[in-house]
């Protein structure tokens, strides 16, 4: 009998917790804590404790599948690769759409964007950051010059005020929530702004239960009063920002008064006054925390910028215990962006619109040229085009993504997949999306590969291989290498190990240049880490905003706008969607874990007690939830914790898909769909 502990990092949220996988005779049987883990110190959430169980699920993909006579049937790698090579050769670069995955390691994402840009020569590469924190990346980049979280989890523990808006971190990022609770223990004020009285809100000293889609109204109101009370950090604003007058003119308008804001947001005036008092009292020791409640709006980018503006006015940037702290949704969404699995940038955020940088990347890869000078398609555009103009996008290669569940308006997505002429899905399970595939390729999960991932505080940490992937499954970058070889591009993919991929990547990615696998032992490294003797960077923008004109933050006028869809007589209720602590987006991993499934076997609809009374709906009763796009049957959970006039539904469940009713309207800059607001109604289920 051989038993060993393999220390690795968690594949779920962006906290980046460590744990040990217990491996008995070559097979993973359990997880055990790793007290030396820098983020979580041995502590785990339910997904950390039980979330390993999917790894050896009997329905893992073990061979490639190729569609023959309408059926997906097992095939050899040779056969699958031949079919892919033959079909990939048929299409023009613009006819491809490639979706990478924030669930996969940096190495896989680097390989995927390289594959898209060299082999398929297409600019159309994107990944699921689009669905979550693309507005954070775009918004913070516009204000500060870098799209990443400015501070570290440790800063949350030393703040005097933690201002949480649109983040239910108790469920979505529990080990970041722990840091906030440590601050509370030391006497810090905690504010939570959320339409739901979430477990996070229940721990707050002040809960501002604002109506979905009114974040900018609230934030502008805070700024108006900060300015009018003369609480701004004059030194900071004068020396480190541009555009202050423009912003001031906007936010000081009467409509952002406390009285009007209280009305628009549906909150008591006293709450806003209290928040303001604490923002003043705790200046230079205030950390903002946000998540998808801020980003998944048609005004997502501006929501994020408004947070950045508040912190800038107060001078709460570049200091310990401060900052704009985006809790990145997926484990490696930070890293996937860093790797350039995006339609607008190469690795290291080199813009595709900059010919010098494009040449630099092409030279580094040893190719004549790479797609440049035009933005590729992002995921909503890929799906829209497949749906409306299947003659323009014909072929899709997606890795570790399940758009049929994860993207809004599922019915439309299903048709888009149906329309796709040649679809390759690389995953560890058959999914709702792989049903539409022409070829399905068996990849590996986090426990079967060496690699790196980057958490929400820019901490690069290791995945370590604990067991072999089942059957004939391969590492994801290995698969891309095999396809590339088959198509005659093998010379560009001469990697033998994940570390080889990493080392190639850091040669062209300035933020990662000084990081090596050896240096990642122990605490990992927070980027930027420009040289091998550099210890990494816990807090950004201490002295300047690198990459911004004059090195200064860009303030601007941003007005509150209503969501794309607002309630009316026919659809009088706001619907907001989100995650639970028990599951991971489309549920393909966590729903295969026994205890997680027992605690949350299916979806529910949170309805305020008063609304339930109005509709005559009892707790546990199945209702039909409907919007302009579709309907779904779901059991009501009647509680006082949700705001009257607002429903909440978790989005993980294929048998009760929240995304059948959600809106595809998206932010014009980041193209992130407005998952957090749409107008709905319910009716009783007919007997």
């Amino acid at each position: 009998m051989e038993i060993k502990f393999v220390t690795t990092t968690c594949p779920y949220c962006g906290s980046g917790c460590s744990f040990n996988l217990v491996v008995k005779d070559g097979k993973i049987i359990d997880t055990q804590p790793c007290q030396r883990g820098p983020v979580n110190e041995g502590k785990l959430c339910p997904k950390g404790v039980f979330g390993f169980e999917f790894i050896n699920s009997p329905d893992r993909l073990t061979t490639p599948l190729v569609r023959k006579n309408g059926e997906l049937v097992p095939a050899s790698w040779d056969e699958a690769l031949a079919v892919i090579a033959e079909n990939f050769a048929k299409y023009q670069p613009d006819e491809f759409a490639v979706i990478s995955s924030a669930r996969c390691c940096n190495e896989d994402n680097y390989a995927m964007q390289k594959f898209a840009r060299i082999v398929l020569k297409t600019p159309n590469i994107d990944h699921c950051a689009r669905l979550c924190h693309a507005p954070t990346v775009a918004g913070l980049a516009k204000v500060f010059g870098s799209g990443a979280s400015t501070n570290s989890f440790d800063d949350l523990a030393i703040a005097d005020l933690v201002f949480i808006i649109g983040s239910n971190n108790f469920e979505a990022h529990p080990l970041a929530a722990r840091r906030i609770m440590q601050a509370k223990e030391k006497g810090a004020h905690i504010i939570v702004c959320d339409p739901r009285r979430t477990p996070t809100a229940k721990q707050a000293e002040l809960h501002i239960q604002h109506r979905p889609g009114t974040d900018i109204q609230l934030l502008n109101c805070l700024m108006k009063n900060i300015i009018e009370n003369d609480w701004i950090d004059h030194d900071f604003v004068e020396n480190r920002t541009l555009g202050y007058e423009d912003l001031k003119a906007c936010v000081t308008q009467d409509k952002y008064s406390i009285e009007n804001t209280a009305k628009v947001c549906g909150v008591p005036e006293e709450s806003i006054k209290q928040a303001l008092e604490w923002l003043h009292e705790c200046q230079h020791k205030t950390a903002f925390v946000h998540c998808l409640g801020i980003t998944q709006h048609t005004v997502g980018v501006d929501n994020v910028r408004s947070i950045a503006f508040v912190q800038t006015l107060l001078g709460n940037i570049g200091k310990p215990g401060c900052g704009v702290n985006a809790l990145r949704g997926q484990n490696n969404v930070q890293g996937s962006c860093d790797m350039g699995a995006l339609p607008n940038v190469y690795a290291g955020y080199f813009s595709v619109m900059n010919p010098d940088l494009a040449k630099k990347v092409a030279d580094y890869w040893g190719v004549e040229s790479i797609p440049q000078g035009k933005l590729g398609l992002h995921i909503p555009e890929m799906l829209d085009t497949l749906y409306e103009h299947p003659d323009q996008v014909k072929c899709m290669y997606l890795m570790g993504e399940n758009p049929v569940i994860s993207d809004p308006n599922s019915k439309m997505v299903e048709q888009a997949m149906e329309n796709c002429e040649f679809l390759v899905v690389q995953d560890i399970f058959e999914t709702e999306t792989s049903r539409y595939a022409d070829v399905v390729l068996p990849g590996s999960c986090y426990a079967e590969e060496d690699g790196t991932q980057t958490n929400a505080e820019r901490r690069v940490q290791r995945f370590r291989k604990a067991q072999d992937a089942p059957g004939e499954s391969k590492l994801d970058w290995e698969i891309m290498k095999m396809i590339a070889e088959k198509m005659g591009y093998g010379q560009y993919f001469q990697w033998e190990t994940s570390e080889d991929v990493f080392n190639e990547m850091r040669g062209i990615t300035p933020q990662y240049a000084g990081i090596t696998y050896a240096k990642l032992e122990g605490d990992g490294i927070q980027w930027p880490c420009p040289t091998e003797d550099h210890p990494g960077t816990a807090i950004l923008h201490i002295n300047e905003f690198a990459g911004m004109p004059e090195g200064k933050a860009a303030l601007e006028a941003v007005e509150h706008r209503e969501p794309a869809e607002v309630v009316d007589e026919e659809y009088p209720i706001w619907l907001t969607t989100g995650a639970t602590i028990w599951h991971w987006p489309s549920g393909s991993m966590t729903r295969r874990c026994e205890q997680l499934d027992k605690d949350a076997p299916t979806a529910w609809l949170e309805i305020n007690v008063k609304d339930a009374e109005k509709y005559g709906v009892k707790d546990g009763e199945t209702v039909v939830l409907y919007s302009r796009r579709g309907e779904v049957e779901v059991a009501a959970r009647v509680i006082p914790d949700i705001k009257e006039g607002v429903f909440f539904m978790p989005f993980h469940f294929t048998e009760a898909r929240a995304n059948l009713v959600t809106n595809t309207a998206y932010d014009p800059v980041s193209r992130t769909p407005e998952f957090k607001v749409c107008a709905v109604n319910i009716r009783k289920k007919e007997a």
Partner: protein
């Protein structure tokens, strides 16, 4: 020939073992494995640095050399790993290194038929308490002003937590700070260690450490107390195999060892007094517990790690007792744990150590255990006497037994009784 109650200075004859003080523990473990007395040794080895003890399941005696030396950040509890991964030592013979909490946990699991102690050799290690790894790193950085990565040795001696490190100029430095001072500031040993009274684990077959090694052997020998007949046999086998040499302990050494133990136990008693007092009494205490546990995110880590939890179907997972999926869980979740565990809590601290919301579960449980001990006289973890609540007659269990045709209330390591 040795016998229960004998005490020795012992040291290894194996030059390959770089033990902390004589290397006798490693030599004895190696001999157990090499002689085939046990199939496996379960102990801890150093992971990425001195702050990172990782459980090691060792079958090759040579591997044991790497495990020599003590790690004061070893906050792990090993017996539950025997239950979970070694089939409760039903078939495999295993030697385990045990701190006081490990030893007590082993006894409680054995009482519940979860571990077959006949197949377990317990090598006890004196323990003055341990510090969680990341807390130790923070403390060394902030309180000691030393780069934690430059530390190569740490120890608790004469009431101080002492580190040895290499400074910027490459020179060897030593720095110690009084444990009392550290703990006054919320640093130092785990809170449960501050309440602990089991410093020399005599429940084990051998109890080993450096306390009381005096005179010319100071720093070069391990103090070994033989605590059972099995321990005597293990010790004699190592002597006969020539892997350890022994000497009689100095009279002064015995005195020092007894004094250290007494001081440490008194510190534990004082720790209890202080912490229990802060917890208040009656309704005040209950309210404190309810407020603290309202942060619970129902990760079940306390249950997974608890050496008293062993039910096939945990009551906290029964929908009619605790509603599934609700965070924080109904208070019944905590009540079930108190009812099922408080009589036998061994204060191992795992439920606090692993709680993602830093709920002082272990304090709550231990505070109740001492009250129950006063009422019923049951002292968990010291002998094989059954706990107060040994007889469980739960309707659910009965129904399950009827449904399965089994007469086992709980799975046990010996299988179905004939």
């Amino acid at each position: 020939m040795s016998a229960k109650g004998d005490m020795f200075y012992a040291w290894t004859t194996d030059a390959g073992i770089k033990g902390e003080c004589g290397g006798a523990v490693t030599a004895i473990l190696k001999n157990l494995l090499a002689s085939g007395t046990v199939d496996m040794v379960l102990t801890v080895k150093k992971g990425v640095d001195v702050y990172d003890p990782v459980p090691a399941f060792i079958t090759d005696p040579a591997e044991l050399d790497k495990c020599a030396g003590s790690l004061h950040c070893g906050t792990l509890l090993l017996p539950k790993l025997i239950k979970k991964y070694l089939g409760g030592a039903k078939e495999i013979k295993v030697a385990v290194t045990c701190k006081g909490c490990d030893a007590k946990a082993m006894y409680e699991l054995a009482k519940r038929n979860q571990i077959n102690m006949d197949n377990v050799v317990m090598i006890g290690l004196n323990c003055g308490g341990s510090i969680p790894p990341m807390q130790a790193r923070r403390m060394i950085k902030e309180k000691y002003g030393v780069n934690p990565d430059s530390v190569f040795k740490e120890e608790i001696d004469k009431g101080q937590f002492i580190i040895e490190y290499t400074d910027e100029n490459g020179a060897h430095q030593t720095k110690g700070i009084k444990i009392d001072e550290l703990e006054e500031e919320g640093l130092g040993r785990r809170k449960n260690c501050q309440r602990c009274e089991t410093k020399i684990p005599r429940q084990c077959d051998l109890a080993c450490g450096n306390w009381g090694v005096f005179g010319e052997k100071a720093g070069k020998a391990t103090f070994v107390e033989v605590c059972s007949e099995k321990g005597a046999a293990v010790f004699d086998a190592a002597v006969n195999a020539g892997v350890i040499q022994t000497a009689a302990p100095e009279a002064k050494g015995l005195e020092i060892r007894a004094k250290i133990e007494k001081t440490m136990v008194n510190m534990g008693k004082k720790g209890q007094e202080k912490q229990f007092a802060e917890l208040g009494e009656g309704q005040e205490r209950l309210e404190k517990i309810m407020r603290a546990t309202s942060k619970c995110i129902k990760c079940y880590s306390c249950i997974e790690a608890c050496p008293i939890c062993y039910c096939v179907e945990c009551s906290t997972k029964k929908p009619h007792l605790v509603r599934p999926g609700i965070v924080p869980p109904d208070f019944m979740f905590q009540m079930i744990r108190f009812a099922h565990i408080a009589d036998s809590c061994v204060n191992c601290g795992q439920c606090t150590e692993l709680c993602p919301m830093d709920i002082p579960n272990s304090l709550f449980m231990h505070a109740q255990q001492v009250e129950l001990e006063k009422m019923f006289g049951h002292k968990p973890g010291y002998d094989m006497e059954l706990p107060v609540l040994a007889f469980a007659e739960e309707m659910d269990e009965r129904a399950r037994l009827n449904a399965t045709g089994s007469d086992m209330i709980y799975e046990n390591v010996f299988g179905q009784e004939e």
